[in-house]
Symmetry: C2
């Protein structure tokens, strides 16, 4: 099965969203789509006079911001993707972690930073997702989870993708694909020709030491290696527009 994670920028622009949905609909076999929506959340928050505070790329989520992300991720972005996929003949089902209790999380403890209503994934119900997949249903996961006591929690979409891939790896041969706006992992982030086609743990460490891999790519790659170590078959980081192209982007492997 294939688990595709698409970032906010792709699902929030009508043109790139339509391309993505067509490519995703054309993928054979069982599949799951995990989406972001941060830009729309920031935009709506600004319209409502709510300031978006980020620490290390992660959103501080107070009660007002939780309402915003619940509306944007769980409603606007998720339901437009679902309607778009249904139009392409995909039996899509939009889910947050609260729906059927598929992803339970714990509110992140307050440390140096109080992230607010942010959840760290405790467990993914692989059996519940598998029963949907086996019934021909394509889950579309919004980056929201719950604590099992009625509290919704904002949860990083890359983490949801990684944890879901790991949980499903017990039952399926899983390919995890992170789609974003660049061709893959680049040696020089301003040069699309500097794609690293294959990345293992040793070369990853070397690039990190040399300062070539940094910023938002670091947690994404850590997620990728964790997923591989937990039994995910393949992890790929690629441009959304190249999704249909087999082997495009950067392939990650343990060694």
């Amino acid at each position: 099965m294939t688990l595709i994670k698409v970032g906010g920028k792709i699902v929030e622009e009508e043109g790139s969203l339509q391309t993505l949905l067509h490519d995703f609909a054309a993928l054979p076999g069982k599949k799951v789509l995990v989406h972001g929506g941060g830009r729309s959340a920031t935009h709506l928050a600004a319209q409502l006079g709510i300031e978006s505070k980020m620490v290390g790329g992660r959103r501080i989520t107070d009660a007002d911001m939780l309402r915003v992300v619940t509306m944007v991720y769980g409603g606007l972005v998720n339901k437009n993707i679902v309607a778009g996929l249904e139009a392409l003949g995909v039996r899509a089902l939009g889910l947050t972690g609260a729906d059927m209790d598929v992803i339970r999380s714990d509110k992140r403890p307050v440390g140096e930073v109080d992230y607010g209503y942010v959840g760290d994934v405790r467990r993914v119900d692989a059996q519940g997702l598998a029963s949907l997949l086996n019934a021909g249903i394509v889950p579309v996961l919004a980056p929201l989870t719950h604590d099992g006591r009625g509290q919704l929690l904002n949860t990083n979409a890359d983490t949801i993708a990684g944890e879901t891939a790991k949980a499903l790896a017990e039952a399926y041969k899983v390919e995890l694909v992170f789609c974003f706006e660049k061709k893959g992992v680049l040696r020089d982030e301003n040069d699309e020709d500097s794609l690293i086609p294959l990345l293992d743990k040793a070369s990853f460490q070397r690039y990190v030491d040399e300062g070539l891999i940094n910023g938002g790519m670091l947690p994404k790659l850590k997620n990728a290696f964790e997923a591989l170590e937990a039994g995910v078959e393949t992890v790929r980081i690629t441009k959304a527009a190249d999704l249909a192209e087999a082997g495009a982007g950067t392939r990650i492997r343990c060694k």
Copy 2:
């Protein structure tokens, strides 16, 4: 099986929502919850500088308003209900009509009024809903549908409740309950002691002729009689707080 429709006011206030969720969770057997959310939509729209235009109690839904109701109904209200039910041990699944294509609708033709992105229900996938119910899942339906070509459509929650009850009546003995803020159908809408405990078609017509039943209660009762004629076993209109009380409110029957 029991299909409960709850109006906006009840699900939008934390206190009444919690009572409702407890009563709903305690209902035995298969069940479906259909919710509104109009007040929150109007509130968010106002915050965003979008004017809410209503004609005969129905919302005119332009592209901006569609975004608002998709966020509020599909995200905010639906996901808080789902998380609340999960906390009470209910295996809840939030759905719009687009999810798994459960409710397909047609954009309302432009007549004297252009309602915009408003859908009239074409068909409810009773089999899809039945397979969820038989798996122990409790569908929580938001008042949004789709046209099958990627367009989400705003759809009246009473209509969704009525049409879903009718579709499920083919497979189940269905009780349809409309919950709102009053005790039931009242002879005098300002006197809670004037409850009409039993209403049949003849007495309904008499009350309409006398002008005692009017406004928003009219389409609700027309929905109720239509549902009964299509095979729904019982229709009840009651106060949400009385949901747990058997036989509370107004019982509707054909004759």
